[in-house]
Symmetry: C2
Amino acid sequence: MEWIKVNIDKLFNFGVEVFKKLGVPEDDAKIVMDVLIASDRRGISSHGVARMRRYVNGIKSGIMKPVAKIEILKETPNTILASGGDGLGQVVGYKVMEMVIKKALDNNVCVGVVRNSNHYGIAGYYAMMALKHDLIGVSLTNSAPLMVPTYGKDAVLGTNPLALAFPAGKEKPIVLDMATSTVPRGKLEVYNRLSKPLPITWATDETGRPTQDAARVLANLLERKGGGLLPLGGADEETGGHKGYGLSFVIDILTGVLSGGAFGPNTYKKKGEPPNICHMFAAMRIDAFMPVEEFKARLDEYINILRNCPKADGATRIYVAGEKEAEKEELHKDFVEIDPKVYEDLKSISEELSVPMEF
Amino acid sequence: MEWIKVNIDKLFNFGVEVFKKLGVPEDDAKIVMDVLIASDRRGISSHGVARMRRYVNGIKSGIMKPVAKIEILKETPNTILASGGDGLGQVVGYKVMEMVIKKALDNNVCVGVVRNSNHYGIAGYYAMMALKHDLIGVSLTNSAPLMVPTYGKDAVLGTNPLALAFPAGKEKPIVLDMATSTVPRGKLEVYNRLSKPLPITWATDETGRPTQDAARVLANLLERKGGGLLPLGGADEETGGHKGYGLSFVIDILTGVLSGGAFGPNTYKKKGEPPNICHMFAAMRIDAFMPVEEFKARLDEYINILRNCPKADGATRIYVAGEKEAEKEELHKDFVEIDPKVYEDLKSISEELSVPMEF
């Protein structure tokens, strides 16, 4: 089925009304919708308005608080420890990254860590907030356990993504935004719908061995029967799987362990319990090292070296991190395209909450 | 051929005398040998005394300076920009990491960036220096171009490793120390000696397509004919190769671009030119977020969750980052084992410089 083009302003206003109806303050609702639509614009539809159904259910069931009581638990000129008050992850993410940026502007470097949060959308959004201040931005999060450690059978690790953003000059900024699994669960869902066999580095079955059977992995994950997504690098040390595993683990140490929130399998909660997801944000002044314009010119030069590098036989183009997403964003100035299933979700939300959907 | 057991004290003293003979100050020579032997002790023989031949040649040819004039080019309470003065990478690495630790102890977080350096050994050494201060340590470096970007034909990127170290309580510290390529060049050399076909995610040939022919890749790299090591994740986006590529790129931005040194293919120099390798070091106070003892207890708990996780069929053990290396280090308290070829190298150095080798 064809994806549906939706006007961004209408989608934004609809979402804001939905969250307001659930008791979310208007300014917070606007933050959430801005993060979600940014994701759809960048072509990362798994983290866009497709998530609204889960957030709506989360708030209605009481595990997510509509009014996030964000608390600063500990603070120095260069660090922040905050609680997200079990609210929407985007709200605390946005607010703490704003504070991190302010402190980095004043004191060169700042690191902020958050606990008691929820899914915050794309990691890249927060890293990119640093760009307009000519700072380097960093954003990490842990997540629900879907990934197995190397040689382990059970999914005890999150796909824990990392994002870094760097301002460029004439070129688009560099934005690396990647999960530490080979692929996210959403990719398995796509292969499942197409009945396509999975590449062997993507997932394991309930015996802990690599499998090509998407349906089996998805069912096992749902019932927590064993197996799950594989770390970047695949199942074995020979192909570097321990590196993806190690990256996921250290991101969880920097978020879940260091913040005092949930980590590893503890992010998987029984019905009614908030998941206590944790994030880390950081920002750094470029001009503590070199003039910003010089940095940007050097990064432009590097981007062009990579772009103009001879192509492998059969390849036509070399991308740099964030380039594909920036091109999609450019394309989606006025509208985004959404999956018909997501459209149905939005329609059911509209009916459930009596919020008119004018698209 | 069997590897040769060598007494650590004798090896250390020999190395110190070698570097002294080349004009390296005694204290600096001791730093270099400590870093190299730490690598051999941890089982990373490619980065241990096997590198002495290259360093000796580097100093003799004049591209590496025996007396490193380390300069602090820019400094704030939280940042350092330094030049390694074309000296041995270990010397500037050690000294700048010491300064970074000092500033982090005083001001919670510090980031130091270095240019005009050389190969600095294992990235993990510097990250681990933070451990005894109960800090989190970070170390990144760029390196000579050996890796291709996704869909590129030429090796224009370094294998740019990253290292993070976290103090634990009863458990060994967590030390993630990994290159962003699937494997280092040394692994191809091993497969070549054994005439073993390479796994398909390791390297490409001169057409830019994945190859299993180790000899061909090594020859191509030497003559810079095209092809090279593949990023973590392999040749395609489908297997996540763009993630390893992205990691390598952002590490080069944080080291080569931000420091004002060489980046990407510019780290490959003509004979006689110093390679201008660049590093980044960072340290952060744990107690800016939570009491150190609480952090360590939480990390211990997480390590045990992973260790005791059910094993995949056929697997017997799940490791955490740095655990294998820590066990090897424990084993090598008095001696290290070195490749007979490396032993021959050391013997030739001994003769060349008239430094007696008493092992």
